[in-house]
């Protein structure tokens, strides 16, 4: 079952050219509430395994997905909740799936990294980089079967270093496919700063493959909407693929339980632990030159302060804060009220249905 973000949303948005800030805010608010509910459920032990939230990406998800309708396809990465909710996925079915219920949108077979819904023509995959070639495949099919439709690949900036992603850029350009790659740059790949392991500039890289490029700031949904609109329109007309580069933030870290986030949340104890741990690692064991040891330890210390710097003051760039300012206060409050009601109810139902995962035990005798 799908739940329209507003009545007639799916068809009206595609035809309308003008940006609708109210619609954008409602979409972003719904995504945020679902993400927050899942993050809380994770901490409370209702979500087994990992969870990668898309908090910080709402402006990208809404700004791109508001252009999509009908047979338009989406290939998603490990942060697929946002685009699916924006496209109208049922929040309850999605939450049940993430919590590991057999009543979830994928019957408990998928979990959050493989959420998929054929009705929405959207599927997530946990193999970094695969959303590129998968979207290329959707685009090949759309070009033949549904001319005028477009495929979107959502991927992180670090996924741009995956071989199959670069092969997909080339294939899309060589075959002039109706596909748009949406590169979400949060500057991190788990605990590695992407700048440290990436050569050149990603927009220039994409352009050199022959992709039309556009850039936007992820905290400005209107900017994302405009930039995405240009590329999607071109692609629909058969004028070739696009690459949308959008900056964003990852305030929750890579996944819930991210060790770097722990360091930044509780820097004093955690760094003391870290230093103690590094010292015991070095002491009393044969090691390399002292110079190398110093360089090694400072690398770790530098990394956690870099992460801390990146993630403090992120609130200023909260895409929801920006989007809220663009609409009348009573409208914002109305949206917040109705969406919190609905998502709160769905979250409570999901928790009730799955039960806490606290007692992991083999042989399925968990209650």
């Amino acid at each position: 079952m799908t739940v329209p973000v507003s009545d007639g949303y799916a068809c009206s948005m595609a035809k309308r050219q003008a940006f609708d800030p109210v619609q954008a805010y409602r979409t972003m608010m719904r995504i945020r509430l679902v993400e927050e509910a899942l993050v809380k459920a994770w901490a409370a032990g209702y979500v087994p395994g990992e969870y990668h939230s898309g908090i910080g990406e709402e402006g990208i998800n809404a700004g791109v997905v508001m252009h999509l309708s009908d047979e338009d396809a989406m290939a998603l990465d490990h942060r697929g909740t946002g685009p699916l909710i924006a496209r109208g996925a049922d929040p309850l079915a999605l939450m049940l799936e993430v919590m590991g219920s057999e009543e979830g949108m994928n019957a408990g077979r998928a979990g959050h990294m493989h959420l998929m819904d054929p009705e929405l023509h959207a599927a997530a995959d946990g193999i970094v980089g695969s959303s590129g070639p998968l979207a290329v495949g959707h685009a090949i099919a759309l070009q033949r079967l549904h001319p005028g439709r477009v495929a979107i690949a959502f991927h992180g900036e670090a996924a741009a270093n995956q071989g199959m992603m670069m092969e997909a850029y080339n294939l899309a350009a060589a075959w002039k496919l109706p596909v748009v790659f949406v590169c979400k740059d949060n500057r991190w790949s788990i605990t590695t700063a992407s700048a440290d392991v990436t050569g050149g500039n990603l927009v220039a890289r994409a352009a050199s493959f022959g992709l039309a490029t556009a850039e936007a700031r992820g905290e400005r949904v209107d900017e994302v909407y405009a930039a995405a609109g240009k590329l999607i329109k071109r692609a629909r007309k058969g004028r070739g693929p696009g690459f949308l580069f959008v900056t964003c933030h990852r305030p929750g870290g890579h996944f819930e339980g991210d060790p770097i986030v722990r360091i930044t949340k509780d820097p004093i104890t955690q760094s003391a632990d870290l230093v103690r741990e590094l010292r015991t690692g070095v002491q009393g064991r044969e090691r390399g030159a002292t110079r190398d040891t110093i360089r090694g330890v400072s690398e770790i210390v530098a990394r956690s302060s870099r992460a801390m710097r990146d993630w403090t003051g992120v609130a200023r760039k909260d895409p929801l804060r920006r989007a809220r300012k663009a609409i009348p206060e009573p409208t914002a409050r109305y949206i917040e009220g109705t969406e919190s009601e609905a998502i709160g109810r769905a979250a409570a139902t999901a928790r009730r249905k799955t039960g806490s995962r606290s007692a992991f035990a083999p042989d399925g005798d968990r209650t």
Partner: protein
């Protein structure tokens, strides 16, 4: 002897090798943070973070091994090694043979395997059967910290291509992110084999040779043969079965390639009943290989296998049922005992 956690023991083996030989280097995604103690000991020139480019950095391991280094290339999960499959099946395993034995490839590919902690069908595979199928490949998976340290040291010192698989359920790091210090609302202790997660490691460390299985428990009625976490599930089942009067042995293969064919055949002959417990897929893998070797050796034994037969589902109850859990092992053992 020092008490160590499983993951700690692997890094202990790697650290010993790095201290002894400056040509040993390691690279992979996030290794500087994950193995920060090695970074602190040996510096950033020998512990390198890679981009998410598995095909390139695994192939690069082959090239570096051909040019004088002994790289330990870490692939976060074996599922992601699929993105670098060609480096394994067409290069690392092949070049020594292509050179007529003149150009060995002393490369270790280190990857995490296995499930039980709810990570879905694309993050919980073991794939050791497929890896072991390729000639020129050594594949090991330790079940305890002492084996973990000794096999890692052996893998690095070995002049050939080795895939070293570490089981995530035994490795403290993964479970710590998902429970432990991240949230106290989940408890993995019911799943976790205590004897595998922590144990005594000998100092000084000696390399463990490949193809030598380890009898974890002797018995005369039934042989349970396994590797990795399966060994611990077997030990649990063996205790129950022995209480029921079925004297049950447990063999830990430790290496999937080469297989210790003599140990397998001897124990099977001794017991006359064999259950292979394999956290890999049932088709085209380890369990069928053991059946074949018993047939070829002319050992007449009743045979069952408990392995993974479906895509591993995400939902915990479905996942546990799909994996070779203790109940499934008990059922197979009891069935054979009646024959």
């Amino acid at each position: 002897m020092t008490r160590m956690l499983y993951g700690e023991a692997i890094d202990y083996g790697l650290g010993e090798a790095m201290a002894a030989d400056p040509t040993v280097v390691t690279w992979g995604e996030d290794v500087r943070l994950i193995h920060r103690q090695l970074l602190a000991r040996f510096g950033p020139d020998r512990v390198l973070d890679t981009p998410i480019s598995e095909a390139a950095f695994t192939y690069a391991g082959v090239g570096a091994a051909m040019s004088g280094l002994r790289p330990v290339v870490e692939v976060m999960l074996v599922d992601f090694l699929a993105a670098a499959w060609s480096a394994v099946v067409n290069a690392g395993s092949k070049f020594n043979d292509f050179s007529g034995g003149k150009w060995p490839v002393p490369l270790v590919v280190r990857a995490r395997v296995g499930g039980w902690y709810t990570d879905g069908g694309q993050h919980e595979q073991t794939l050791w059967g497929q890896l072991a199928a390729v000639p020129g490949t050594t594949v090991v998976c330790p079940a305890t910290p002492d084996d973990a340290a000794g096999l890692m040291l052996g893998a690095i010192q070995h002049d050939g291509f080795v895939v070293f698989l570490e089981h995530k359920l035994l490795s403290e790091q993964f479970l710590d992110y998902l429970g432990g210090s991240s949230r106290d609302t989940v408890d993995f202790s019911g799943l976790l084999p205590a004897a595998g997660a922590s144990g005594e490691v000998p100092e000084p460390l000696r390399p463990i040779p490949f193809g030598k299985a380890r009898v974890r428990r002797d018995g005369s009625d039934l042989a349970l043969i396994s590797v990795g976490v399966g060994v611990h599930r077997c030990l649990e089942a063996a205790a129950t079965l022995s209480d029921e009067g079925i004297d049950t042995a447990v063999l830990d293969l430790r290496s999937i390639a080469p297989l210790d064919t003599a140990a397998v055949a001897d124990l099977a002959a001794q017991c006359g009943r064999v259950v292979v417990v394999d956290e890999d897929y049932v088709r085209g893998g380890l369990s069928g290989e053991i059946a074949a070797l018993l047939a070829e050796a002319g050992v007449p034994a009743q045979f069952r296998r408990v392995a993974v037969e479906t895509t591993i589902p995400f939902a915990p109850a479905l996942e546990q049922a799909a994996l070779p859990n203790t109940q499934r092992i008990l059922a197979a053992g009891r069935e054979l005992a009646t024959l």
